[in-house]
């Protein structure tokens, strides 16, 4: 009954590695923390021919600022701009109330090769906390700046940073004449956007493979929903699921990348299946007459959390992947809980929580059962955890236009990202990987 076709496509819809400079995500901080750490990032020196490729210190400063954990000392107020340790006068910085200081330089080591050097100082103790030189190319300098940001963030907060990761999202532009759907991948700060796939028909539900090399997504390009898996580096893609008619959607990877959970229909009923990526065989996980969709694997791969309206209205349930034990309901707050996302450690479950008037991102602690609302929009959806588990990115609306926002899991820090044109939606935060670029 379930037919599968493997096919490779040409360049018709696939445009890879095409940076779009025209569309830039603008980032606004909507809410920050009062007890933020005061830090100064002094503009880096440039040792090389011509203009420096990017302003690495500005990238680092913006990353730290956006995390909501730091208060950045304004560059305009800097009376002293040291670029090497011997020139740092800790007295001056102490007088300005700066606790931590970042200095550095970008060196062109040979044509095309660079090194990003930086040092982090504890101003009060007058001690160096970090000192690194990151070898890189001109084109990867931005990534080096994100890696440096991660190191500084981890040193000062004790938590792993997620600046050197990526986000996938859908951008939709619809006018009376044309509609255009684009699946983008961008740096976590919204820069360096690349088109993964473009189509005049809807694109949905991007999902990162655990190695960060592939994206699964739903495309309606053949006037019906089909699930594709596309390799980011090459643009090569494959259709992995296309039942004759109806629902083929909601792809979600297992932690080992060997299985893809999907929602497939038989008539009006939609159930969860698991597709073995090697044997290409589907195994049924749920067997209800209602709608079961939006699956996510538990961290150990033994369970699947999913949305089901078997009880009358959508709620999150949990079912064992192997075995036919009854699914257990896990959400009880409000009359609507859907689109679950699991934190990387498997302890938190983010959902769309709501009623018929208002939908917000909610967070369940799976150990204690405690529930907390994280967002305060009217139509918030598609939560996705940062790989460090500290932030949740989600889709919300600003004056009728779809924008992306992040919120820390403690609900204290919010920021908003928005494209200049069209609706932005369905963000998916990449896992930690070296291969996301």
């Amino acid at each position: 009954m379930i037919r599968m076709k493997k096919w490779m496509t040409g360049a018709l819809l696939v445009l890879l590695a095409a940076p779009l400079h025209a569309q830039v995500l603008r980032i606004e901080i909507t809410q920050g923390v009062s007890g933020a750490l005061p830090v100064a990032v002094v503009p880096f020196a440039w040792d090389g021919a011509g203009a420096q490729p990017i302003d690495a210190s500005a990238v680092i400063a913006a990353n730290l600022q956006r995390s909501g954990r730091f208060r950045l000392f304004p560059e305009a107020d800097m009376v002293d701009r040291p670029t090497e340790a011997a020139r740092v006068n800790f007295q001056t910085w102490r007088a300005f109330g700066v606790d931590n200081l970042v200095i550095g330089r970008v060196r062109q080591t040979s044509p095309g090769n660079h090194a990003l050097q930086f040092q982090l100082f504890d101003v009060l103790r007058g001690q160096q906390l970090l000192g690194y030189s990151i070898p890189t190319s001109a084109t990867n300098l931005r990534r080096a700046a994100h890696i440096a940001s991660d190191m500084i963030y981890e040193q000062l907060t004790g938590e792993r940073g997620a600046f050197a990761t990526r986000i996938a999202f859908i951008n939709a532009t619809r006018t009376a004449e044309v509609s255009s759907y684009v699946l983008f991948v961008a740096d976590a700060d919204g820069e360096n956007q690349q088109v993964v796939v473009r189509s005049p028909e809807p694109l949905m539900s991007p999902a990162w493979s655990p190695d960060g090399r592939r994206l699964a997504y739903v495309s309606f390009e053949n006037r019906r929903p089909e699930v594709f898996v596309q390799e980011l580096a090459t643009g090569t893609r494959e259709r992995v699921s296309a039942l004759g008619e109806g629902v083929n959607g909601a792809p979600a990877w297992s932690a080992d990348g060997r299985r893809l959970a999907l929602a497939l229909n038989e008539g009006a009923r939609v159930n969860i299946y698991v597709l073995d990526m090697e044997t290409r065989r589907h195994t049924r996980v749920t067997n209800g007459s209602a709608i079961d969709t939006e699956p996510v694997f538990s961290a150990d791969g033994r369970f699947i959390y999913f949305t089901s309206d078997r009880g009358g209205q959508p709620q999150i349930y949990r079912a064992a992947v192997d075995g036919d034990s009854r699914a257990q309901r896990v959400t009880f707050e409000g009359n609507y809980n859907a689109r679950p996302a699991l934190s990387p450690d498997g302890r938190l479950l983010a959902v769309v929580n709501g009623n018929d008037r208002r939908f917000r991102i909610g967070l369940y602690d799976l150990e204690t059962g405690a529930f907390r609302l994280l967002s305060d929009g009217r139509f918030d959806e598609s939560p996705s955890f940062a790989p460090n588990g500290r932030l949740v990115i989600y889709a919300t609306e600003d004056r009728g236009t779809g924008v992306l926002a992040t919120v820390s899991v403690d609900g204290r820090v919010r920021q908003r990202l928005g494209l200049a044109q069209g609706d932005v939606r369905e963000p998916a935060w990449s896992p930690y990987t070296d291969a996301t670029r």
């Binding site: 929903p225 909601a250 929602a263 229909n265 009006a268 709608i291 689109r339 369905e426």
Partner: protein, 183 residues
């Protein structure tokens, strides 16, 4: 057996090649070519006339086809639903039944039932809900004698709204199944 046939083919080819070498045979070929061209031209004209007649016949049939009558109940091609529901409401029964009747009387007619939802709720859930709406209309068509092969369904969930706006009026117009006839 096989070798004999091969031999014959070779022998015949040789004979044809030999024939081509004489002059009168070339003139004969030329005459045959002209004759073939004339026949082809006549055939093309006959085809053209047949296509024209077919076109006129289709046009007349179209005029008589109740699908093209804007006053017919068949001109109603959209069935609307309540929030998070997929039952066909009583006020749309007559519309669906009329399409069922038309489809069973015209076994070559085909429809795609496109299910849609409003923007509220999660996107994949809405794809499943739009599918359930399309399936509800499909079931009614089948019940009234429409053949399985005449009906296709697809759900776009909330991805293709008919109306913009975040109010009940727009949402009500987006919760729908469109009955689309294949041309």
């Amino acid at each position: 057996m096989f070798t004999i046939r091969s031999f014959l083919i070779v022998a015949l080819s040789a004979a044809v090649l030999a024939g081509c070498q004489t002059r009168p045979a070339v003139d004969e070929d030329e005459a045959a070519r002209r004759e073939a061209e004339r026949a082809a031209a006549m055939q093309a004209e006959a085809d053209r006339q047949r296509a024209e007649a077919e076109r006129i016949r289709e046009q007349e049939a179209m005029r008589a086809d109740p699908l093209n009558d804007p006053t017919s109940i068949l001109a109603q091609r959209i069935v609307y639903f309540d929030f998070d529901r997929s039952e066909v409401k009583p006020e749309f029964m007559a519309v669906v039944q009329a399409h069922a009747q038309y489809l069973s009387r015209n076994p070559n007619a085909r429809v795609t039932l496109e299910g849609h939802t409003d923007e509220r709720g999660s996107r994949e859930y809405n794809v499943a809900l739009g599918n359930r709406r399309a399936q509800a209309v499909r079931r009614m068509l089948m019940f009234h004698g429409v053949a399985d092969r005449q009906v296709e369904t697809v759900s776009y969930g909330e991805e293709k709204p008919a109306a913009r706006g975040q109010n009940e009026d727009a949402w009500a117009r987006n919760r729908r199944v469109e009955i689309l006839y294949a041309r």
